[in-house]
């Protein structure tokens, strides 16, 4: 056991010595690898979490949107992430420049809606998705800032 510990100690001291002797280049490279392996992926996922908190997620399914009421402030952009739970749907806010023509199941689509003035705007499915396609709509309620 003592011999083993001694061998581990010698090995460790050698490695430590080598690490000290590596120079600036190796330390910079270590920093790059740290960014690649840790900081990079961590910031990607942090961005994802931040996005999730600042987006309204709307699920489309036959034949409704969930939620079917959204709230926004006039002049303030509202980010909406659309996800289809079953078949291909569409999404359009009547009167505003906001449309997704093909909402494919399994794939998220994101769009930003900015309503210039207060009021109630309808959003509806624009891709035929079954018998009650025409009944698939929701409300965007925009209040004054």
């Amino acid at each position: 056991m003592r011999t083993f510990m001694r061998a581990v100690s010698i090995w460790g001291r050698r490695r430590l010595f080598q690490l000290r002797a590596v120079g600036t280049g190796e330390i910079v490279a270590l920093a790059v690898v740290a960014v690649v392996l840790v900081v990079g992926p961590a910031s990607v996922f942090a961005y994802g979490r931040w996005m999730d908190r600042h987006v309204a997620v709307v699920h489309a399914r036959q034949w409704q949107y969930a939620p079917n009421v959204l709230h926004a402030t006039a002049g303030v952009p509202l980010r909406i992430r659309l996800e289809s739970d079953d078949v291909v749907h569409g999404f359009k806010v009547i009167g505003l420049d906001a449309q997704v023509t093909q909402l494919i199941p399994g794939k998220s689509m994101e769009l930003t809606v900015t309503a210039p003035k207060p009021g109630t705007y309808l959003y509806m499915c624009t891709t035929y998705c079954g018998l009650k396609h025409a009944m698939m709509f929701g409300k965007l309620i925009v209040t004054a800032p």
Partner: protein
């Protein structure tokens, strides 16, 4: 020296001087085979290649992309064209590999490949610094019996059988790449240097074969300098660089097959005797010394894979697509058996028949095995150009997905760079048949040229060579016609 000997010597010298110079061997009738342009005469390029950062930084960047791809395959959308794993690997990387990297930069990809790099860093116990110590791990030598491309061929066939799934499902792409990474890292700790890349990596196998066609090479500038330089730093390593990680002897490099373009030999060489050269395409295919059946089979497998993938992915045969796509296990099993039979059995048999005919027509003066092996190398140009045609058909219609997924790599609705809503925009697809036909035609002509040169090497008598090349012309014509039918028919 006696007077008689002096006369004989003088006569021989006079004859040598008077004899007409042998005509330079040329490709396509006008490009000399031995034409070289040394790029490393430019001091900035020499400095760049000697820097360890030249390899490290692209590798680190690729490792980052690979980690994103790995994450996207596991947690991203299963929709292939919205997931960076599928779009970056099978549209961007594959096209870049076949259209640019292999023909113009040989195995440069291997020099910046992120898959084995963790293992290599652990093995060296360093990232960029060169420290003189025993490598970590066991550093066992690869068994002699396995020092060939046979294992690589087997691994590639195994992967190819799952191609329909791997190229469409992000999780399958990631399972493949992750397995290569884990296996590679593990083997770096067991075997010496880049044994894994050389003898097991399924990508490295075909890159090695097609690198022989590449228009670039690393070679010693002067052979006598290498012969006179006894320390052999490029093999053993020095404080400036590692000995060739690919287990090659840079002093005696004749072909690109196992040169991974890592530039370690530039760093090691205290004589500054390594050079990076531009050369005519396909020069290494004429090197006789290292030819083997393993590489011949690699040529058949790659040529056959180009045909089968073109039929499966771009052809009008829905049943074939369903079989490759694992719609039913029985169908997939049939596809896998058929694919392996065509790639490793039918094509070699066709080539064997043409080689036998060549052998008979040329008078059976050399062993049949040599004829079979040698003539397999003329399938490299047509094989690579068929892959280039296939890659055009992948890139031009689907390349615009790349712009979209860089903003939304996981298909979660992100918009990192403002391009997440970039619409699918096929580019130059009306030119696609012409580009594919031109690629094939170039490959056909180049293969004919290489076939003729190989015939001259194999059968020194010009008449025998001329007879021997006829079946090869027929074979190449048949292959080209079949690809033309697949691409534009």
């Amino acid at each position: 020296m006696s007077a008689e000997k002096r006369v004989v010597a003088r006569t021989a010298t006079a004859e040598a001087v008077d004899a007409p110079a042998a005509p330079r061997d040329v490709f396509l009738g006008f490009v000399p085979v031995d034409a070289r342009l040394e790029l490393t005469k430019a001091p900035w390029l020499r400095r760049l290649l000697r820097s360890r950062w030249t390899t490290f930084l692209p590798t680190a960047l690729n490792l980052f992309l690979f980690l994103v791809i790995l994450a996207a395959g596991i947690v991203g959308t299963p929709v292939g064209n919205a997931n960076i794993a599928i779009v970056f690997i099978w549209i961007l990387w594959w096209s870049a590999l076949m259209l640019v990297l292999v023909p113009f930069a040989s195995r440069l990809w291997c020099g910046m490949c992120p898959l084995p790099v963790l293992g290599e860093w652990v093995q060296r116990f360093s990232l960029v610094a060169r420290r003189w110590h025993k490598p970590l791990g066991l550093s066992i030598k690869w068994p002699k019996k396995l020092r060939s491309m046979w294992l690589v061929n087997g691994v590639f066939l195994g992967v190819a059988a799952f191609s329909g799934i791997i190229t469409t499902r992000p999780w399958a792409t990631v399972a493949l790449l992750g397995s290569i990474m884990v296996l590679g890292t593990g083997l770096f700790l067991v075997y010496e240097r880049r044994t894994f890349c050389r003898y097991l990596c399924p990508v490295g196998g075909f890159l090695g074969l097609y690198a022989n066609f590449a228009a670039i090479e690393i070679r010693p500038k002067s052979q006598p300098v290498c012969v006179g330089h006894k320390s052999k730093e490029c093999i053993l390593g020095s404080m400036a660089g590692h000995g060739c990680p690919w287990l090659e002897q840079p002093t005696n490099l004749k072909r690109n097959t196992y040169c991974g373009m890592c530039f370690e030999c530039f760093r090691c060489c205290s004589q500054d005797n390594m050079g990076l050269y531009v050369r005519p395409f396909g020069t290494d295919l004429l090197v006789e010394s290292h030819r083997g059946l393993d590489e011949s089979w690699k040529a058949f497998i790659m040529l056959g894979a180009a045909a089968v993938y073109s039929a499966t992915m771009m052809g009008p045969w829905g049943t074939l697509k369903d079989m490759a796509n694992l719609r039913s296990f029985g169908g997939w099993a049939l596809f896998a058996v058929g694919l392996i039979t065509v790639l490793a059995g039918v094509l070699p048999a066709l080539h064997g028949a043409s080689a036998w005919l060549s052998w008979r027509l040329a008078g059976r003066t050399v062993p049949l095995k040599k004829v079979f092996t040698n003539f397999a190398y003329h399938l490299v140009p047509i094989g690579l150009l068929a892959w280039i045609g296939f890659s055009f058909a992948i890139l031009l219609p689907n390349g615009s997905y790349v712009i979209r997924v860089i903003s939304d790599p996981f298909g979660w609705g992100w918009n990192l760079f403002g391009t997440a809503h970039f619409a699918w925009t096929p580019v130059l697809t009306s030119w696609l048949p012409a580009l594919q036909a031109a690629s094939l035609l170039f490959g056909f002509v180049y293969s004919l040229d290489v076939a003729w040169k190989i015939a001259r090497q194999t059968f020194p008598a010009p008449a025998a060579a001329a007879r021997a090349v006829v079946p090869q012309i027929v074979l190449l014509g048949g292959i080209t016609a079949a690809f033309l039918w697949l691409f534009v028919g």
